[in-house]
Amino acid sequence: MEFMFDKEKNKEKIERFRQIIQDHKETKGALMPVLQGAQEIFGYLPAEMLQLISEELDIPLSEIYGVATFYSQFSFIPKGENIISICLGTACYVKGAQDILEDFEKLLGIKAGQTTGDMKFSISSTRCIGDCSMAPVVTVNEDIYPRLKKEQVKEIILKYGGEIK
């Protein structure tokens, strides 16, 4: 999928991010909090911002990529408008989370880790968000759906403005 990082459109965000870098310049081990800041502000790690980090913190770009690719929370492509995240931790798995994931994949026509063509939905799987007593658990953006039943999968997609394929 092709996408461009528009510096003009992101002007304000870039300013906010520059501030985060400044705030951490003196911190030992600043790279992680700075990357976390970028991920939070932009929703992913734009190459242009990694370049900026490299210059400001004086860390080689290769090292930054080495760190960023290691941690699963960092993404190098923009995510969809709605992020559907299915927990595949042990408690959720034994209660049928795999089937629920497959239902979402079937209905949205994408696999976990992908984004729909219209940028409306991304599916991701996580490992335990700590709500295990209410397994299986699915989150959509900040909303939590505990004890999810297969029948609810369709409803959820419709609720967030999706179309069933």
Binding site: L35, F70, Y71, S72, C132
Partner: protein, 526 residues
């Protein structure tokens, strides 16, 4: 900034306010100095680490103070030398609740004895074990207990700088900690010159970014340093050479929550709970196919049966208990026949499982043990940092074998190959992740060998889980409504209206659509 006298004053004044509020809410019983939650679920529990959870408002430091909070820190700063605190911890025999069960006092002593211009004290709040959430509960509902535990530890080992490494997947815990740290600083219970005693101790938050291996001590330190979280070779121990090469103590959240209570109520009291070699309590995350899922804190040595049946209410939907998984990806599956086993470090180890962080997943007859082993291996392969070969490649090979078993393509020799691989990986991996990754495989092979044989020799999945091994059949009570034939994506169901239908097994892709569509329960999975 408050003094010791003011701390006492807040406690005396706020306690009645807290009690009044709790009585109004009607969810607690107050007996003298003790406040406990009402209800059958709590009756059999003994709460130390969770004693304030659900009782205090975590956003109000006065609630914590009213429950004897910061009393231990104040008393220690006034009356005790660091060495005495360490001796108390050693005498209490508190063992780390983060997995390995290493005695906390002995760990502190290592760092105490090492002289250095700087020492660090870290709280491991990464809680990577899927299915465990006790640390999250403590961080969200009783953050000051962790801060106080850290400050006591910092004083004992001679550290003035603490870090809490908390996973980003726990935003509420992060917010709760931020608030608590700010409040404690405002009161002068953290920061410079605590309670006017000259002791300095500050705490900073660092967020984890979704790598399970970062829960491992040395990897966690690499991560705080801003690198990939890859484990370091040991020795040297991190209590000698840790974060930024300085002596560093790392303790789990639940471990730290125990510290102020032990200091308040005394070593003798603590040792009277639990077993001789594993004193105190343990919090378990009781989840899976159990009626009352949730956190359970019981004295060490309580049997699995008491936890699962007496507190958890038994298996859901009247099904039969098949196994209990403890210790997460590093742990093992305990068969139902061993349900009388007491849960403490030694007893679990003896039967090939571990305590781990306290995850306890109840599995019923519909859980396939080969599939569960495969599930954990998939986790390990995903989460291996890749630094050492046995873990990076060995686990991948194990996963391949297990996948072929659940797919029905494995050969007989692969059963013994799997076992051999497991034993080698266990012996040769660099860190705890690789060293324990074979446990789910070895324990299921030990107790459920016949399931492996069924998958490989007979190509069937006795629990009806592994899709490729299932067979859909239409029974004689088929009413010939054609509903199944209409939904079948490969059109492999034939039959006339009102006659019994047949599935062409060669073309069936085992999607289960016919099974879901059948109105008369005429389709079976076998």
């Amino acid at each position: 900034m408050i003094t010791m006298e003011m701390l006492e004053k807040i406690r005396k004044e706020h306690r009645p306010i807290l009690e009044e509020r709790l009585l109004k809410e009607g969810k607690v019983i107050i007996k003298g100095n003790e406040i406990v939650l009402k209800g059958d679920y709590y009756k059999k529990q003994y709460r130390i680490a969770l004693k304030n959870c659900g009782i205090i408002n975590p956003g109000d430091i006065r609630d914590y103070i009213a429950m004897d909070g910061y009393a231990a820190l104040a008393n220690i700063l006034r009356d005790k030398q660091p060495k005495e605190v360490i001796d108390d911890m050693k005498a209490s025999n508190l063992r780390g609740r983060g997995g390995a069960g290493f005695p906390t006092g002995r760990k502190w002593e290592e760092s105490f004895k090492k002289s250095s211009d700087k020492k660090y004290f870290i709280c491991n709040a990464d809680e990577g074990d899927p299915g465990a959430f006790m640390d999250r509960s403590i961080l969200e509902n009783d953050p000051h207990a962790v801060l106080e535990g850290m400050a006591i530890g910092g004083y004992a080992v001679g550290s003035d700088q603490g870090f809490i490494y908390v996973r980003a997947e726990y935003p509420t815990a992060v917010a709760s900690l931020e608030k608590a740290i700010a409040e404690a600083k405002e009161y002068g219970l953290l920061g410079e010159n605590i309670l006017g005693t000259g002791f300095n101790f500050d705490i900073e938050l660092r967020l984890g970014s979704g790598a399970f291996v970062c829960g491992e001590g040395t990897a966690l330190m690499e991560s705080i340093e801003g690198k990939r979280g890859m484990p370091r070779k040991k020795p040297p121990r991190t209590s000698h050479v840790g974060l930024w090469q300085k002596p560093t103590i790392l303790n789990n959240v639940e471990t730290l929550a125990n510290v102020p209570v032990i200091m308040n109520r005394g070593v003798e009291w603590f040792r009277s709970i639990g077993t001789e070699r594993s004193p105190g309590t343990k919090v378990f995350a009781l989840v899976g196919k159990v009626v009352n899922a949730g956190l359970v804190e019981v004295p060490m040595g309580t049997s699995l049966r008491e936890i699962i049946y007496d507190i958890g209410g038994g298996v859901q939907d009247g099904k039969v208990l098949k196994a209990v998984q403890t210790g997460g990806p590093s742990g093992g599956c305990i068969p139902a026949s061993l349900i009388e086993t007491p849960v403490d470090f030694e007893s679990l180890d003896k039967i090939g499982s571990i305590m781990g962080s306290g995850g306890m997943v109840v599995m019923d007859e519909n859980t396939c043990m080969v599939d569960i082993a495969r599930f954990f291996l998939e986790f390990t392969v995903d989460e291996s940092c890749g630094k050492c070969t046995p873990c990076r490649i060995g686990n991948k090979r194990m996963l391949e074998i297990l996948t072929s078993m659940t797919d029905g393509t494995a050969e007989e020799r692969e059963i013994s190959e799997l076992k051999e691989l497991a034993e080698i990986i266990e012996d040769t991996s660099l860190c705890g992740l690789g060293q324990t990754s074979p446990n789910p495989v070895l324990s299921t092979m030990r107790y459920f060998y016949e399931e492996y044989e069924a998958h490989v020799l007979d190509r069937i999945c006795p629990s009806g889980v592994c899709k490729s091994l299932l067979k859909y059949n239409i029974l004689d009570n088929c009413i010939g409504c054609r509903k199944c034939a209409k939904v079948c994506p490969t059109s492999c169901i034939s039959g006339k209206v009102k006659e019994v239908h047949v599935i062409d097994q060669d073309r069936c892709i085992k999607c289960g659509a016919c099974y879901d569509a059948c109105p008369s329960e005429a389709i079976t999975i076998g």
